[in-house]
Symmetry: C2
């Protein structure tokens, strides 16, 4: 069927070893043989077969990404960083999409077994520490993104700190009834962000008013949807005692929340979380996660680990940065549309 190293060798009158050497850039090949082989290879349209190479070398030159939700901004931007960093390397990229509904551990386990990758990037998958420990038995390089375990290299953002700082910003600015739009509680980042929100209030000597922590009813994607944010903000805006500021669990929800404010004509200052590409464009204040950088850094950690499996485990925790834009602008909120720039 397809041409192999044997065909080239026969045509060139050399052994397959020599042909192989040419394609492995081994320098111990005479210029004469090299050009002859290359010419024939080109004519016959030869290219090495990755699977055979992989088997012989015991290396697949493959990196696998395991992720629960493909169609979301966080993943997209992280993926962009991953691709960027992988660009120059010889590694190909595999994607496994696991379902949040089924048994997550089983799926991760399966993906790793199934995969022939030299390393795995696991994004936004939250397992128990003992589950991570047992994954350790596969003895394969793994880097965690948006998750932490003592067992593996990781790149994440401090959600608690981010939520704390967002809330604290409002406190410092003198806001009194600071609400929070949360999401599905089972999600770890959601838990952390609620946590940070609470602590900020407590540290300021305030009571946490549970009724000010609301989520929409949409449970899709753990509640990280525009719809959920819309619903949540609607609940807040219906309160007799209106909140005067709001920290929102994610930008995508914040976009929904903004729409709710538009639809009702009542605006309160809002800070989101993520800094997806749309946020800057829309003037949404937010706690920035450096998603692209998280992707590139995760790849570089993984590549290092592949090169040196016994290196010390390394964790990078980014501090989310408060990006102040028009959605926290008093003037804007009082007098005009939240999405407009200040005149």
């Amino acid at each position: 069927m397809s041409v192999t190293i044997y065909d080239i060798a026969k045509e060139a009158g050399v052994s397959i070893a020599t042909v192989s050497r040419v394609f492995n850039n081994s320098n111990s090949v005479s210029e004469k043989s090299r050009t002859k082989i290359l010419t024939i290879a080109k004519r016959l349209g030869y290219h090495p077969q990755a699977m055979a190479q992989g088997l012989a070398r015991k290396k697949s030159k493959l990196i696998s990404v395991i992720v629960p939700v493909i169609s979301n901004h966080f993943f997209m931007e992280v993926l962009e960083g991953i691709q960027d960093e992988l660009g120059d390397s010889q590694y190909d990229l595999n994607i496994y999409n696991i379902k949040l509904t089924d048994d997550i551990y089983e799926q991760v386990d399966y993906s790793i077994k199934r995969g022939m990758a030299e390393g795995y990037l696991i994004i936004s998958v939250h397992l128990l520490e003992k589950q991570w420990k047992s994954l350790k038995n596969f003895n394969v390089p793994i880097t965690l993104i948006d998750e932490f375990s003592t067992e593996f290299d990781s790149v994440s953002v401090d959600s608690i700190e981010g939520a704390y700082n967002a809330t604290n910003y409002f406190i410092t600015e003198g806001y009194q009834r600071i609400a929070m739009i949360s999401a599905q509680n089972r999600s770890k980042p959601v838990k952390d962000r609620i946590n940070g929100y609470r602590r900020a209030l407590e540290d300021a000597g305030r009571f946490v008013q549970e009724e000010l922590i609301v989520s929409g009813d949409d449970e899709d994607r753990d509640g990280f949807t525009e719809k959920n944010g819309y619903q949540a903000m609607m609940k807040l805006l219906k309160m007799k005692d209106l909140p005067d500021a709001c920290f929102c669990n994610s930008d995508i929800q914040a976009i929904g929340a903004v729409k709710a404010m538009q639809d009702t004509g009542r605006f309160i200052p809002l800070i989101g979380f993520d800094d997806i590409q749309l946020s800057e464009f829309f003037g949404l204040s937010t706690m920035r996660q450096p998603m692209r950088e998280m992707g590139t850094m995760a790849v570089s950690k993984l590549l290092k680990r592949i090169g040196n499996p016994d290196a010390k485990v390394s964790h990078t925790v980014f501090s989310p940065e408060l990006m102040l834009r028009s959605s926290t602008d008093e003037q804007t909120n009082k007098h005009t549309h939240i999405l407009e720039k200040r005149a």
Copy 2:
């Protein structure tokens, strides 16, 4: 290092052939051997190595996706469909991200050579027909998404028709100065959409006013950005003779265009193209591309082709569907915010 079929065979006191048969669900294995092997395999944590299987079977059980821009809504939603459809099959998914800046053909060619996939899904890559023809020589199943060639199965949307119908809607509604926000001309969908816009006007016996076809200056992603749409709409809104309606090349640009209208306080009815998830939420009227379905259908075509390489080439061209929402709502546009629902 890792456990192989030999380890299992030795432990179980059988040949490797029998072990292999167990994992291939061959029924010609005694229940006794089967359970024994399975037990040992489980204890040793054995799992077949995909590369070795691939080499022996001459099948990789891999599908590759080749795409220029990962971080965009169209790709995300198509990818979701692809994953969905691939979910039940035994195929894994590989992603190759090619750069729009370099020589595209070379990159596609390289990706296919490099890849060990059994089939390729090529998304939004636009080549000359003769280039597609030469790719045919690889003799590997390929399905095109958002592109057409007589050589390969394809799934696309009729951009010309979509643009025609959007423009025609405005004509029918009595609008006089219908503008179009385009993008980089080198992009095939952009060309097609301009084409459709033109034809609709011509068929209605109108002159095409070239100055009403504008693009923003942002050239990133061929101009498919919020920023580009914003800039383009700004140009339109600065005209002494304001357009009274606008067809926009893509939803992501339309979102930018809407913001431009908000910032200036001048609103004109707008129809986008794509129907990304944000559009419904924002009430943006648009020509809908069924992106998810395009993904699932492309996979099913590819799988069919893998099963039957000589089947007749099949093309599916979806007609974009006009989704009327508030951005084309006269009332909305005249009196209130374009992004708000009609009361």
